[in-house]
């Protein structure tokens, strides 16, 4: 992965193009995923903002973590995140990704998402409504256009912080590169 993210006018054009067309990974990790179909289909129609579902991590730029994460899902999520290509963004859904939410004392779910993956933005709600999802994604588009959405760079820079936390919960994790 080349690390020289040069901040030039070319980068601004790419940021502008990135925010106009986002491929959201179709991976419903938690119970919040039930509010995604209404957002993607006719009533709230996310695709008019250029956000559409992508079938595989390779083609995706946006990783929606929809709700709580059991440790088993966290392992697969880390693999998925590392398969995705920069520039990539993570959006945390619902209170379960912020502070464990309803399952704060469950032995099998993680309590804070941003200890394991760089999170651009959280959408609050114990399953946020489609309007909240759209509002959040529009804010994300603005952040991308202004170049503030640099989660993937933060992940590169303090890679060992994230890897330590992941290994603390998951034990050994296979690394791709």
């Amino acid at each position: 992965m080349n690390n020289n993210f040069v901040k030039g006018s070319w980068q601004e054009i790419l940021d502008w193009a990135q925010n106009k067309s986002i491929n959201m990974l179709h991976y419903c990790t938690g119970c919040g995923a039930i509010e995604l179909p209404p957002t993607m289909t006719s009533r709230y129609d996310m695709s008019r903002f250029g956000i559409g579902p992508a079938a595989t991590p390779r083609q995706a730029d946006l990783l929606l973590v929809t709700g709580y994460l059991s440790t088993k899902t966290l392992r697969r999520l880390v693999y998925t995140y590392e398969q995705m290509q920069a520039p990539k963004f993570v959006v945390g859904f619902g209170s379960c990704t912020i502070n464990g939410g309803m399952y704060w004392d469950s032995y099998n779910t993680i309590k804070q998402l941003d200890k394991y993956l760089p999170v651009e933005m959280y959408i609050a709600g114990c399953m946020p409504r489609p309007e909240a999802i759209l509002d959040g994604l529009l804010k994300l588009k603005k952040m991308i256009a202004d170049g503030e959405a640099d989660g993937y760079q933060r992940y590169e820079e303090n890679k060992d912080f994230y890897h330590q936390n992941q290994e603390a919960v998951l034990g050994e994790v296979q690394r791709t590169q």
Binding site: T41, R43, R76
Partner: protein, 369 residues
């Protein structure tokens, strides 16, 4: 699995064709699945442990989050379990309102699964129409309970609040709209579509003996012509006051199950109309004293109701304290999701694996809990 002829596909937790966060690792040769294994556990949050840490009334907020497609089923079974152990009499009006909520949830669940099945075979238009129709039902739920999906409305002893008259009128209008406009569209686009019939006919066949042996109930059993429905066999809430038929199929394949889902919805509309016309007056909540100090005597009970996928049951044990001693959740698709994948998936084609998984209504949070 010999390496040279068979390869393995992780029809994994992250895949558009899989129903929810659940994986099927199958080996295939040519285009046919040879062996398969369920890769469950991705949605495990330890519900039963959490329920033992919370007092009775607090669990009503936790319980609907078990199965996301049909939250009201969990609330109902939890309330029925509490009332069964404590021998609590629920006012008749609350029974009627509970049945209305359950039937609305059934319609919402069935439309969503028909949309999901259609998306599995590439018919995205029906998915869009189905999810749009479901949203109208969520608006009704929002009007009654204040929330779209998790309603926390059915409580031990009754329901949280009454339904006003104009909400009943809205429900009746929606039922007419569903029956005269929405369903005929779906009928023409999907059920009269030769392609869809060809994609579903004869696929994912589960015979009567296999279903009973495995403990699978609901559309999987009724698709073989067996009219088993817990609303008829063990009537609960207000189902003994309404008449309705139990739709059945003939040869137990995906096509019959999806037609049963459609006929179930039509029956639910009939039930809701009868319930609204005959609803008695009276209180909607039995007087159980202060919610924070609910306490029922020592005892246990296994209660079950008919969810859209079949028998959904709780085994609840109370030791007389403020908290439940043990709650065991029996999801409707547990036998199919774990055992059925290993026994009945081999032999199907790769193109039919999503048809197999979605038409059998495998809902992973039920057996991951």
């Amino acid at each position: 699995m010999d390496k040279n002829t068979q390869t393995e596909i992780f029809f994994g937790p992250n895949h558009p064709g899989v129903p929810g966060n659940y994986g099927i690792n199958y080996q295939f040769e040519g285009d046919t699945v040879t062996s398969a294994r369920a890769n469950a556990g991705h949605l495990h949050r330890g519900f039963e442990k959490l329920m033992e840490e919370r007092i009775w009334i607090k669990n009503t907020a936790l319980v609907p989050r078990i199965c996301v497609e049909e939250p009201d089923i969990n609330e109902m079974v939890y309330a029925m379990g509490f009332e069964a152990i404590g021998e609590i009499e629920v006012p008749r009006r609350a029974d009627y309102i509970r049945s209305i909520i359950l039937e609305l949830a059934r319609i919402q669940g069935h439309i969503f699964s028909i949309g999901g099945n259609a998306a599995g075979i590439g018919q995205y238009t029906v998915m869009h129409w189905g999810t749009l129709t479901r949203d109208y039902l969520l608006d009704i739920f929002e009007e009654i309970t204040g929330a779209r999906v998790y309603h926390i409305y059915i409580r031990p002893g009754g329901v949280r609040q009454d339904i006003e008259a104009e909400t009943f009128a809205k429900i009746l209008d929606l039922m007419d709209e569903l029956e005269n406009e929405r369903f005929p569209d779906l009928e023409k686009a999907l059920f009269e579509n030769p392609n869809a019939q060809k994609r579903w006919q004869g696929k994912a066949v589960i015979t009567k003996e296999e279903a009973i042996e495995m403990g699978a109930t609901g559309p999987v059993l009724r698709a073989n012509g067996v009219p088993h429905d817990l609303r008829k066999m063990m009537p609960y809430a207000a189902y003994d006051d309404v008449e309705f038929e139990v739709p059945t199929g003939k040869n137990g394949d995906a096509w019959d199950r999806i037609k049963i889902a459609r006929d179930d919805m039509l029956q639910s509309i009939k039930i809701i109309r009868q319930l609204i016309n005959k609803i008695p007056d009276g209180p909607v909540q039995a007087d159980l004293g202060n919610g924070l100090k609910y306490r029922i005597p020592k005892g246990d009970a296994y209660v079950k109701i008919e969810s859209k996928r079949g028998e959904y049951g709780y085994y609840m044990v109370s030791d007389g304290s403020l908290k439940p001693y043990r709650v065991h959740v029996r999801g409707a698709s547990t036998p199919l999701g774990l055992y059925g994948v290993r026994e009945f998936l081999p032999g199907t084609r790769i193109a039919d694996v999503p048809v197999w998984a979605k038409s059998l209504g495998i809902c992973p949070p039920e057996f991951d809990r």
